[in-house]
């Protein structure tokens, strides 16, 4: 209960800070749009079925954009030197960790809200079962946020963190990416498949495992 309250306080603070540096949100959204554009140039040829590329473009854009915002996730703490201070007043690192996960989740939800309609529009695609895709996006973004926050937090103290973050993050998130692309592909092409629930449960298991493992590892690895 107390952790929940502290998490909320920190999240509210982060939202305030983010709202004041509007540039960051704008730049990240801009990056996402450009990603979609670049992929379109890369994949689209006249006459080819554009619809095949929708899932890939969507999920890879989300992955790339999340790694951009992850690199800035702990910037307010690093600039002001409040990292140790916060974890020493909130009886551990859990509230800080979860507030950052929520912030990252809000961020990627925002990106998602912009990118999904854009991709569907650009590629003239239609989703057959919206609910499943939303569920897949939700599960995928939660997993990305949890694992990404842990990696961003831990790599903050390592040299070359800008390079190391994708290096570690992308292979680790491969199951989410594969599952997300599959679910979206099935939905875009309108094929009803029993595999759908398999993929969703894989994503769910991924999220559950890392929601338990990540905060524990974060606490362990950042102890004095």
């Amino acid at each position: 209960m107390n952790t929940l309250r502290l998490t909320w306080l920190l999240l509210r603070k982060d939202m305030q800070v983010t709202a004041r540096s509007k540039e960051l949100v704008g730049v990240t959204l801009m990056f996402a749009v450009l990603c979609v554009l670049v992929f379109s140039f890369g994949f689209l040829q006249s006459g080819a079925a554009a619809i095949r590329y929708v899932p890939g473009v969507l999920w890879v854009t989300l992955l790339f954009t999340s790694s951009v915002s992850l690199l800035r996730l702990f910037a307010p703490e690093e600039e002001g030197g409040t990292l140790a201070l916060v974890s020493m007043t909130t009886s551990g690192s859990a509230p800080l960790f979860w507030s950052k996960v929520c912030l990252q989740l809000l961020f990627s939800a925002l990106v998602c809200a912009l990118i999904v309609p854009l991709v569907l529009l650009f590629f003239d695609a239609r989703l057959s079962n919206v609910g499943t895709v939303v569920a897949a996006l939700g599960l995928g973004l939660i997993g990305q946020a949890v694992v990404g926050t842990l990696c961003a937090a831990l790599l903050a103290q390592v040299r070359l963190k800008e390079v190391m973050l994708p290096l570690i993050l992308y292979p680790m998130l491969a199951p989410l990416l594969i599952a997300g692309v599959k679910v979206t592909a099935l939905s875009v092409t309108g094929v009803e498949s029993p595999a759908l629930s398999n993929w969703l449960s894989l994503m769910m298991v991924f999220d559950l495992i890392f929601m338990v493992v990540s905060p524990w590892l974060y606490g362990r690895a950042t102890q004095p």
Partner: protein
């Protein structure tokens, strides 16, 4: 008059890159005592404060707070009893001074005083209270950070060069704040290069070759 030992470091050692920076360092901080530490650049003063505040684990030796070793205490217990002023202000740069203190107060469950009162106490003009800390000057940031320390419930203050960037009234205010704190039984440890600040302290130590030595008084 000897009061109780609040914080004690015994046989402390800290090594970096295979070399000891601090070694066999002993320190006792008593309630109501104001200690000033000087020392050459790179002598390990900042590291010493980080170890004393539990932010870093020493290579050798241990630190005890009221008789309990820091490593055996929960982090929020240490955080509640030891306040630290570092080079970085420990404030969110994109929040205003008042918001920073309010957040901190909320985080530690309302243990610190009202934000306005604290900001007034460290001499920040009310016009700056709603300004973002990013727009503060060096001295103003230092004052805001000091407000955080003054407001805390800690009985140990560890101040890393608190006088940096402060003007003359600011230094006098700092002295007054520390005096008020020691009168309440708070033990203050201050790292400084400032001779004037040094001489105001009750006890002057010099960090040399990894150990603390009493400063020889120049005649």
């Amino acid at each position: 008059m000897t009061s109780a030992v609040v914080l004690r470091a015994s046989a402390l050692g800290w090594a970096a890159q295979g070399r000891f920076i601090l070694l066999d360092l002993d320190l006792e901080m008593r309630a109501g005592q104001w200690t000033a530490i000087s020392g050459a650049n790179g002598a390990g003063k900042t590291t010493l404060l980080q170890i004393l505040s539990g932010r870093r684990a020493p290579t050798r030796g241990h630190v005890t707070l009221h008789g309990a070793t820091l490593s055996s205490l929960a982090v929020h217990e240490i955080g509640g009893r030891i306040a630290m002023l570092e080079h970085q202000p420990g404030l969110y740069l994109d929040l205003s001074g008042r918001e920073n203190l309010t957040l901190l107060n909320a985080l530690c469950g309302g243990q610190i005083d009202a934000a306005e009162e604290l900001l007034a106490q460290v001499g920040l003009p009310p016009t700056s209270w709603e300004q973002r800390v990013r727009l503060y000057s060096r001295g103003m940031r230092q004052r805001a950070a000091m407000a955080r320390v003054v407001g805390s419930s800690a009985d140990v203050w560890l101040l890393d060069e608190p006088a940096t960037g402060l003007d003359q009234p600011g230094r006098e205010l700092l002295t007054t704040l520390i005096r008020q704190a020691t009168a309440k039984g708070i033990s203050v440890l201050m790292v400084t290069h400032d001779i004037e600040m040094m001489h105001k302290a009750d006890r002057r130590l010099c960090l040399e070759q990894g150990q603390l030595q009493p400063v020889q008084e120049r005649v």
